[in-house]
């Protein structure tokens, strides 16, 4: 048995527990994260504070280490899976307690593309940052995006593709929005392994997001600009 197995989460004070949860998230320990979330809630923490100060803070470290080449995809997926466990407990409570809302996003992988790991990470991190996320899943034709934009009225449209053969479809969606005169009603963010900033600009997206952390920061930035414009 390792030394870590002897740590009893409920015996740690708040600061130590949050630090331990960030370590556990980094190590992808889902059960420990769920236990930590429940302990903090029992101690009277608001769901929003548990989410932001323990889970999102921990996942941000994971994101930075992924960006810097210290962690790789498998470790990020394990961490995300652990965070998902914590989020499942917090999500209904966040709705009840009226946590701050940053904005709303519709997201999905484009037609012909079934690869959703990146899209799922973005969804989760956006939710963690206070966005309401409507996830359309995989293989979305332009009609599916249009229908969701119409019914959900989001601030942001997110599109994801892993394949060089499917990423041009993002332009089909954006061109259709232009034809219908609704392009500027939404912030369009795109992402996926083969994309780059140049591609994002060329197809008329508002921004290319290299990873989930960048997607969150970019979305926050656009929401804040929008807010300032409305107040200006």
């Amino acid at each position: 048995m390792s030394e870590e197995d002897d740590i009893i989460l409920s015996e740690l004070d708040d600061e130590e527990l949050v630090q331990q949860m960030m370590d556990d998230l980094y190590d992808g320990l889902k059960e420990e994260i769920e236990e930590g979330v429940n302990i903090l809630l029992e101690r009277g923490w608001t769901p929003y504070d548990v989410l932001t100060k323990a889970l999102v803070a921990g996942m941000t470290i994971v994101g930075h280490d992924f960006r810097d080449g210290i962690l790789f995809v498998p470790e990020v997926l394990l961490a995300a899976n652990a965070m998902k466990g914590g989020m499942a407990i917090l999500k209904p409570l966040l709705a009840e307690t009226g946590a701050p809302r940053m904005g709303k996003m519709v997201i999905g992988t484009v037609k012909g593309d079934i690869h959703d790991i990146g899209k799922n990470l973005v969804s989760m991190m956006m939710e963690g940052a206070g966005f309401e996320v409507v996830d359309l899943g995989i293989n979305n034709a332009v009609e599916a995006y249009l229908e969701a934009l119409d019914s959900e009225k989001p601030d942001i449209l997110g599109m994801s593709a892993l394949l060089t053969t499917t990423m041009p479809y993002m332009k089909v969606v954006i061109d259709t929005l232009k034809e219908k005169g609704i392009r500027d009603d939404y912030v369009v963010l795109v992402g996926g392994a083969p994309l780059n900033e140049e591609f994002g600009r060329a197809i008329g997206a508002d921004a290319y997001c290299r990873d989930a952390a960048v997607a969150v920061e970019t979305a926050k930035d656009f929401m804040s600009r929008r807010h300032n414009q409305m107040n200006g």
């Binding site: 790789f72 995809v73 498998p74 470790e75 997926l77 394990l78 899976n81 012909g112 593309d113 079934i114 690869h115 959703d116 790991i117 995989i138 293989n139 394949l163 060089t164 053969t165 990423m167 392994a193 083969p194 994309l195 780059n196 591609f199």
Partner: protein, 223 residues
């Protein structure tokens, strides 16, 4: 395409082709350099042998570059620049290979020709036929990738350490298509085992060398 017509003995093993640069020189001063992905080395040498070409050098970049395709354009450009004065022509044996058009742009700038198509799964099957397939939930393996399945799939995805991640990666796939370049029952069995490990249905599809062979036979004789 039998074993006794190939100069495959000149090649290092598959692991070296995956992780290292490799060179196979022609028997006499070569005029054409084929700058290829290591995953194509054996197939290219077979095509050279079939056609009895003696004016071609083969230089391979590590096949594992495919797991970080953003590195491919620079790696190709470096070799082209280093060797362009040594040959009449350099032909780059990569398709787009996940570079999002950046390799094509780089080859255009360098004035060298490359293979058509999105990736080797497409040109082995024939780009036109592959585009008509509409198989978005198929996971493809070639002969080389079956042999190097652990190096390209299992280890980089962490499935050796964390097998529980399998369905996060492959949950939306329905079948593994083994594109067979050669007749090799043992390799077919290995491919079937790969499909089992990923929890996918198995299909074997004989492709031969497809557009790779057709492209080489268009370019090589005229140098």
């Amino acid at each position: 395409m039998t074993a006794d017509t190939t100069p495959r003995d000149a090649l290092p093993d598959d692991s070296a082709l995956t992780f290292e640069n490799t060179e196979v020189d022609a028997p006499r001063a070569a005029r054409l350099l084929l700058l290829a992905c290591g995953a194509l080395a054996r197939e290219v040498l077979d095509i050279i042998a079939i056609n009895k070409w003696t004016h071609i050098d083969l230089m391979c970049l590590p096949a594992i570059l495919h797991n970080s395709p953003e590195k491919i354009p620079d790696a190709v450009a470096e070799k082209v620049i280093a060797h362009r004065n040594d040959y009449d022509k350099i032909f780059v044996l990569y398709a787009d290979c996940g570079t999002g058009g950046l390799l094509q742009a780089r080859c255009k700038d360098l004035g060298v020709q490359m293979l058509d198509g999105p990736h080797c799964y497409s040109f082995f099957e024939g780009n036109t036929a592959f585009a008509a397939n509409d198989e978005i939930s198929a996971f493809y393996l070639t002969d080389f990738l079956v042999r190097q399945f652990d190096a390209f799939v299992i280890k980089p995805l962490g499935l050796d350490r964390h097998p529980q991640l399998r369905d996060m990666y492959f949950g939306h796939y329905t079948k593994l298509v083994y594109q067979a370049q050669t007749e090799d029952p043992a390799l077919t069995e290995k491919a079937r085992a790969c499909a089992d490990r990923l929890g996918l249905a198995f299909e074997r599809r004989v492709t031969g060398y497809g557009d790779l062979q057709r492209s080489l036979e268009q370019v090589a004789p005229h140098i």
